[in-house]
Symmetry: C2
Subunit: 207 residues, 2 copies
C-alpha cells in the first residue's frame, strides 16, 4: 500500500518518527500511529513520557556502561559479585542473556558495539579506553580475568583481538566463551564450523 | 530470552509502553527502547512530540470521521469531489487504499469499526448514527448513492445489512464493491468462494 499522501501532516510526522524504530516499515508505523490515536490522551502521554525518560532519567553506569537508574549500576554496586572478573560484551542485551543463566557472578563491561570499519565504528566510538584503563589501573577494583564474550563475526573477532593486544604486558588472564554444539542438539544437524570447534576444543570427560 | 529483571525501572517502563503497540512483543519493545536510548535527546523529544500530537492536534473530520489536520478533512472540503456519493469504510486505512486507486472521486464515511458482539462493539460505538443522519437529512450534501465497502466477514456483512435496513424507505441507491478473482490471478489458484462469486456476478464482455 502506498502511504502517500496521508490525509494529515500530523499523522505523517508520527508515521515517519515511528518508522525510525529498528525493523519498522511505514505500514507497521501507520498501524502503531492509528493505535495510539485511538488510545486516550492520558495513555499516549504516559507512552511519550516513558520514552522521553529513556534520555532524561536513564544513566550509563560509570564503571561498566550498562544501562542503570543510578550512576553506578546494581551489578557494579552489589557486594555479592566477584569484582576481579570482567566480562566484555557488545550490548546490554548480552548482559541480560548472561544474567539470565545465573552462572556468572563477576562484573561486566559493555562496549556499545564492535569495531566495524564498514559502518564507520572505530576504537574511539566504543568504551574500549575505559576498559583498558579499568584493567591497567585496577580502578574501581583490580581485575584478574577478562572474559571476551563478543560475537563470533569478523567484527567481533577483530575487537577481541584488538583488546587482547592492548592488554599485552599486563598480568590479566584473558579468556573467551566456550563454543560448541548446543546442549541437546543432534550432531547430524550441527553446522560444520561449530562441530569442528567442539572437537578442537574437547574437554575431559567427567566420570 | 527472559526480560526479567531488566537492569532499570525506567527501561522496564519504556519496554512496557512500547509493547502495547499492536503486534509488538517484549523483545521488539526492548530493541526499540535501546534504539531510542542511543538516539540524541533532541531526536527522542521529536519522536515523543510527534506521537503526542496525534492526540493533541489531530482532528476527526466533522462529516466523514476521517483523520484530519483540520475540522473538515481535505476530501470533504475539496470542490473537485462528487458530493452525492458516500463510500462507507471500516477505518482510515481503507480510505487510503481506495484513494491510491485514483478511481474514486466521491466522499467517504469512516465507521471506526464494524458491529461485533463478541468484541462488545455495538451500533452505538460506531459512526453509524451520523451516517444515517447524513443520508436522511442530506447534510452537508444530498446523498444519492451509498457504497458499502466493509470487509466480507460476518461482522462486516452484519454491519452492511444493518445500515441497508436502516436506510429502507429512503431514495438512496445502495451498492457494494465487486468481488471476484483478482486481475492477473490464475483461476486454478483462486479460492472457491471468490471464484464462485466471480461467476455469479459475471458482467457483460466489452467487445
Amino acid at each position: 500500500m502506498n502511504l502517500n499522501p496521508l490525509p494529515s501532516v500530523i499523522l505523517e510526522d508520527a508515521v515517519r518518527q515511528l518508522s525510525r524504530l529498528p525493523g519498522v516499515g511505514s505500514r507497521s508505523a501507520l498501524r502503531y500511529a492509528l493505535h495510539l490515536q485511538r488510545c486516550s490522551e492520558a495513555e499516549v502521554r504516559d507512552f511519550a513520557d516513558a520514552v522521553l525518560r529513556l534520555k532524561t532519567h536513564l544513566h550509563e553506569c560509570r564503571h561498566c556502561h550498562n544501562i542503570s537508574d543510578t550512576e553506578v549500576c546494581p551489578v557494579c554496586s552489589s557486594p555479592k559479585r566477584q569484582r576481579n572478573i570482567v566480562c566484555v560484551v557488545e550490548n546490554i542485551q548480552e548482559v541480560m542473556a548472561i544474567e539470565n543463566t545465573r552462572q556468572y557472578r563477576g562484573l561486566y563491561h559493555v562496549l556499545g558495539g564492535v569495531i566495524s570499519p564498514v559502518d564507520g565504528i572505530g576504537v574511539g566510538d566504543l568504551h574500549i579506553a575505559s576498559l583498558l584503563q579499568r584493567v591497567r589501573e585496577g580502578v574501581p577494583d583490580p581485575v584478574e580475568e577478562v572474559i571476551l564474550a563478543l560475537p563470533t563475526t569478523m567484527e567481533g573477532d577483530t575487537t577481541s583481538f584488538y583488546i587482547s593486544k592492548q592488554l599485552d604486558g599486563t598480568q590479566v588472564k584473558i579468556t573467551t566463551l566456550a563454543r560448541g554444539v548446543a546442549i541437546g542438539d543432534n550432531l547430524e544437524y550441527a553446522d560444520e564450523v561449530t562441530l569442528g570447534r567442539s572437537i578442537a576444543g574437547r574437554v575431559p570427560f567427567n566420570r
